[in-house]
Symmetry: C2
Subunit: 129 residues, 2 copies
Amino acid sequence: MAAKTASARLEERWRNILSVHARTMCEIDRVLHPHGLGASDFEVLDVLASATPEEERQCRVQNLVGRVHLSQSALSRLIARLEKDGLVERSVCAEDRRGVWVALTRKGRDLHAQVLPLQRAVLARMLDE
Amino acid sequence: MAAKTASARLEERWRNILSVHARTMCEIDRVLHPHGLGASDFEVLDVLASATPEEERQCRVQNLVGRVHLSQSALSRLIARLEKDGLVERSVCAEDRRGVWVALTRKGRDLHAQVLPLQRAVLARMLDE
DNA sequence: CCGCTGTCCTTGCGCATGCACTAATTGCAC
DNA sequence: GTGCAATTAGTGCATGCGCAAGGACAGCGG
């Protein structure tokens, strides 16, 4: 009975995570869509905006993979999209020419600043219950 | 400063949810894949297995939409796949011929019983930290 | 009956994602 | 130096998803 209860509790916690994740994710998408962004796009923008205090620059893409919940390939394409929209810039890494640097453009930084409050508002609404 | 802290805490919680969700989801997929199932497939099977104590039968699909984090269309196709694999059966609802009943087959029930411990093990591993 | 509105499921379509593969480059062993 | 494994990004392909539209049916008012 003890084991059963533990398993049931785990299951309940998991279902709860699933539920909160789905609803919040969906809401973020809905709020960001008018600005031409999806939840993943924002996630990358957000990492770039916060993890780039203008100094801690590494070869980026590889660096991003660890901080975002996307595969390398998905990230590659996502960055390509962001670049096409003029939100980030890619440049080859001089020290290691395999790598690619990714940096927010002015436009990207502005857009991030603009939508950040919207995302935070969603989090506040959804995570508080 | 108080507001900033609250926002940061929300952000941290959200990142944590994102992380746990991604890792657990991925692991469930990995464990279930050899059995021909994905995480969503299992979710549906699991709901069917637990929510069908042989009696509480409703027109199903509509009923499932509320319990699973998928759109109607995705669910429709997912059920079609499960049916193709012989794991569930669809039948028109007599009282309301718009509706469709979905029921686990013997094979579906067996497979669910077989993979359930695997999924629970993943939850135990990933959710405990 | 008739038609209208709403519900339930399915389908057409475009898109984002992951896997496996490739290309370019590095670093190391020899 | 030369070759070889490892690392880093990008690409072809298949798959699953959501949105919007469609088709079948129920329920209701006239």
